[in-house]
């Protein structure tokens, strides 16, 4: 992991590979199991995967408490690194951050990939579109997150430092996303601003946010395609890393400048 300073914030980031820039924004937790996938993406991309402020070993400034703050920080990160024609990939909570970036500015972005993203509310006030994972018993949360629960991280193998990182990830996700729960009520009204080519990838067995939510999001974007992934839940890049990596590579080729 490397350190990148942006706006006085020292961001911990995995930087790997060579090629077209790809900014990868991770989800609520389970960062460590995604590292092999990020290395795989490095075959064709220069991958930059920051740990969001408050997550992992990136300190959160006390004033930073909104997802839009993270979005502005990463728009500055793109400037700071001088990245052009970047493929922006966001999973789960990181997809929400990616959308908040994409509705604000697109000069350095060449394509948007959303994987089982959060951040939006389409239904009525009584509709639960994003499962309250904090109200679920641990085993049920795993069962709803993974198509194959055996793919879930085995915390018995984590040392204290790795466990503490998981706890920090969960705490930070809650800080940004507790209420309204994992979405910005206004964001859906700005989706028309996302005109760049977009790919919406969804685990068919995701029971945190259903594929129908992703399909609906795809329709609301200007130039998007929906790609369901079989035998995958909320984190397809953990359960089907090769298929997700291949799909992102194909999307980038189709949308080369």
């Amino acid at each position: 992991m490397e350190r990148i300073d942006v706006d006085g914030i020292s961001i911990e980031a995995l930087v790997h590979g060579a090629g077209r820039p790809l900014l990868y924004l991770h989800g609520i937790d389970h960062f460590a199991p995604q590292v092999p996938f990020l290395h795989r993406l490095g075959d064709h991309f220069r991958v930059v995967a920051p740990r969001h402020p408050g997550f992992g070993k990136t300190a959160r400034p006390a004033w930073m408490r909104n997802v839009s703050d993270i979005a502005y920080l990463y728009l500055d990160l793109l400037d700071r690194l001088g990245l052009e024609d970047t493929i922006l990939v966001g999973s789960s909570f990181g997809g929400w951050v990616a959308l908040e970036m994409a509705v604000r500015a697109n000069a350095r972005l060449g394509g948007l990939v959303l994987i089982d993203t959060l951040g939006l509310k389409f239904g009525g006030r009584d509709d639960v579109e994003i499962t309250d994972i904090y109200a679920l018993p641990a085993d049920e949360a795993v069962a709803r997150t993974f198509a194959d629960p055996a793919k879930a991280p085995n915390y018995a193998t984590y040392d204290d430092a790795a466990m503490e990182e998981v706890a920090r990830d969960r705490e930070a996700a809650v800080l940004y996303g507790w209420r309204p729960y994992m979405h910005n009520p206004g964001l859906r009204h700005w989706l028309h601003r996302v005109k760049m080519p977009s790919l919406v990838i969804w685990g068919e067995q995701d029971r945190i946010v259903a594929p129908s939510y992703g399909a609906h999001l795809t329709q609301r974007l200007q130039n998007a395609r929906f790609l369901p992934v079989t035998n995958a839940g909320h984190y397809p890049m953990i359960e089907q890393p090769e298929r997700v990596a291949t799909a992102i590579e194909a999307f980038a080729r189709e949308n080369a400048r």
Partner: protein, 390 residues
């Protein structure tokens, strides 16, 4: 003179037989019969009102979505008792100010109660147990930051008497704060907070807040009181005994057997109040990441449960604890008046003294008649001896 406070959670114990893995958060309210509930409310209020004659002060609290405590608004029984009683003091321990949306409303409730009671209110502010997070839908990751901002705003609202002031903080925003009535006691009623660790005792001590140490027992309590005294001295504050309160479950009887039987019934409080579906016991951010990490890893017990032990180090499971072990651990004082006095005095000496005894004299299945007798015997046989303490 040590002060005694009678505390009841206004339990709705008729539902307990139908509960197993959780007594909180997710239990359906169809298990609550409002007709039985009405009788229970009146009964508990009668027991508190009796305290005015017995010279025992009154303590309320609040919890949400639970059959262990049907007092979901701590200031409602206080409002009734502010008029029904004339002499004793009224403590809410208390108001979950990090979970309430509106600190100004809290300042108004406490001020109005203070005026109606002619200055008999003591105001507790609580962080709240982790399983209060879900019913309140309050963010656990910045809970204490919100707690202290609410605390500061409430005190400023109660002590500002020259018209509106503006508050634009991190969590609360008001352009015109100007509460009426202002409190009866000047500058404001005494402030309490419950404390379960030396760290939080230090936070309270640095601000001169009275701490209510709730049933932490023989092993943990000296360290908590010690941390308070030490920090108060560092801040140039005097830590009087009346800055320190300890809550015990108390059963007094004519015979040891009768006192123990009453204590055993009150212990149903300890046996039920911590029983909650585990996903609500450790909301992310409620405790520091290092502690949260151990809970995620699967050793998910509450910090409190792991801390309780007898004075010779035997761990205590609150769900199954018996009277003998609970007495040994300093959680219960029970038996004849002499027994109770001896146990109280030994605990008092062991922890270096304290000025308030929070007496849980009711808890669940103990009957109204037994509760009245328990409180009356305590008042007549134990209370007079407490003049020599603190």
């Amino acid at each position: 003179m040590m002060h005694t406070w009678h505390f009841s959670e206004m339990a709705y114990h008729p539902a307990w037989a139908q509960l197993n893995e959780s007594y909180r958060v997710i239990i359906p309210s169809r298990l609550y019969d409002p007709k039985i509930g009405a009788d229970l409310y009146h009964r508990y209020l009668d027991e508190w009102a009796l305290c005015d004659e017995l010279g025992i002060n009154i303590m309320t609290n609040e919890h949400h979505a639970t059959a262990t405590c049907a007092d979901s608004v701590c200031t409602i029984p206080m409002a009734i008792l502010a008029r029904e009683t004339k002499k004793v003091r009224l403590l809410a321990l208390g108001m979950p100010i990090a979970n309430r949306e509106n600190p100004i409303r809290v300042a108004e409730e406490y001020s109005m109660l203070d005026v109606i009671s002619r200055g008999r209110i003591e105001m507790g502010f609580v962080k709240g147990v982790p399983f209060e997070i879900s019913p309140a839908n309050s963010n656990p990751a910045d809970l204490m930051e919100r707690f202290w901002e609410a605390h500061d705003l409430i005190l400023k609202a109660m002590t500002s008497h020259d018209g509106p002031f503006s508050w634009e903080g991190t969590h609360f925003h008001y352009r015109s704060v100007n509460i009426w009535p202002r409190p009866y006691q000047q500058p404001h009623p005494p402030v309490w907070m419950p404390v379960g660790s030396p760290g939080s005792a230090r936070e309270a001590a640095s601000r001169g807040i009275v701490i209510g140490v709730l049933n932490t027992g023989w092993a943990a309590t000296p360290g908590i009181f010690g941390a308070y005294r030490e920090t108060a001295a560092q801040h140039g504050r005097e830590a009087t005994p009346h800055h320190l309160a300890y809550m015990a479950l108390i059963g007094v009887g004519r015979t040891r057997e009768e006192g123990w039987r009453r204590a055993d019934q009150i212990l149903d409080y300890s046996r039920t109040s911590g029983v909650v579906a585990p996903q609500f016991a450790n909301p992310p951010g409620y405790v520091a990441p290092a502690m949260a990490a151990t809970a995620i890893k699967g050793t998910a017990t509450t910090a409190r449960a792991t801390r309780l032990q007898t004075r010779d180090g035997k761990p205590i499971n609150p769900r199954t604890v018996n009277v003998e072990d609970a007495i040994n651990a300093g959680l219960v004082f029970a038996g004849t008046p002499d027994d109770v006095w001896d146990q109280l005095k030994a605990f008092y000496d062991h922890v270096g003294g304290f000025g308030h005894l929070l007496m849980m004299g009711q808890g669940g299945h103990i009957s109204h008649e037994d509760t009245v007798d328990n409180l009356t015997m305590f008042s007549k046989e134990v209370l007079p001896r407490m003049a020599e303490l603190a």
